[in-house]
Symmetry: C2
Subunit: 176 residues, 2 copies
DNA sequence: GTCGATCTATATCGGACCAATATAGATACG
DNA sequence: CGTATCTATATTGGTCCGATATAGATCGAC
């Protein structure tokens, strides 16, 4: 799922600037399983404009940089739906935490316990974020995404809870 | 968790060629939460060698390209452990599947059902892979990583099972 | 009341990383 | 006997991220 496709998808829900697209990842609905940086969003929007998949209108603002508001075109909408009909790339879950835990035998116990605590807290924050958005009007898709996130985070927390303690008795090895 | 750190970690478990490091991600222990491509592994090993964090010995083979077997140095081991003592980057879970489901209202029902089925099958394959490795000798870290993966995958499957059907009655919208 | 922080909004650059491709002989299978 | 897969290296094009730059607006703290 490249950034161009992600931008198209977001624009099917309404017009937006590059800045607003970026912020959608931090707030509402799109949390946790989709992301893109400014460094890829702005070039993506330019290319999409060249290709006629989105259109821009520049809204000049007094004493502010111009807003470039992007809208999806009919061609863009078709291209987006077509991309959802093709086989999807697989999920990619990169976890520095799991990687670090693979080497727990090389770390002092205190650090291992801390890794687990810190990670558990992060998961709890994400879970709380998902529950916050609960009240707002949602598409069935957003409902699904929130449920999916909840399911995974709850399971992760439960597992961490089970593991807590198991790494407190293991003998540590040289940490230098 | 950059590729250099990942390579260092793997080399703490024993010497390996770039090729073997890459393959470790597909087989044993490191499955699912860690990955790197040849295009980043080979340059990483070169740089690590320059920096003295790993050493190479070239094993000439008859009628085969030379094997470049990498070993971690004491400096490399220290650097690796130091990187595990610093705060870790957060997990990054990119899911084209969840992204597509966010737009289920734009897709024909059949496609949505297919998305769920296909994804569920992929998760089941991953779960089976984790259970396969069960028999082999494991470090506590590998045990943890396998348990973590299992917990998440089982929860995902359970959620998908609950959702199956919920997307069969939703009215579809134009798919072109 | 003014100073710093945060927000809106654009954009670029270096570097990291991936996917695909190239090379090339070995082995294994049908 | 041919073809696919395996061992093993490496590069290239392109995508993407993180950091940085710019710049005025707003808002809270002191």
């Amino acid at each position: 799922m490249d950034v161009r496709t992600i931008c198209l998808g977001i624009l099917t829900r309404g017009d937006a600037t590059g800045y607003e697209i970026k912020n959608l990842f931090q707030h509402d609905g799109y949390q946790h399983f989709v992301e893109a940086s400014f460094g890829s969003i702005y070039p993506a929007l330019n290319r999409l404009t060249e290709e006629g998949l989105v259109s821009v209108r520049e809204e000049a603002q007094e004493k502010r940089p111009d807003r470039k508001v992007y809208s999806i075109t009919p061609a863009g909408r078709s291209a987006f739906i077509a991309s959802l009909l093709k086989p999807l790339p697989e999920d990619r879950h990169r976890s520095p935490f799991v990687f670090a835990m693979l080497f727990s035998d090389l770390l002092p116990q205190a650090r291992v316990a801390q890794l687990i605590e810190t990670y558990a807290q992060e998961v709890q924050v994400k879970l709380a974020q998902l529950n916050e958005t609960e009240a707002r009007a949602q598409t069935p898709g957003e409902e699904f995404a929130r449920g999916f996130g909840r399911a995974i985070y709850v399971a992760a927390l439960q597992f961490l809870e089970e593991q807590r303690g198991k790494f407190e008795t293991a003998e540590p090895v040289a940490a230098e």
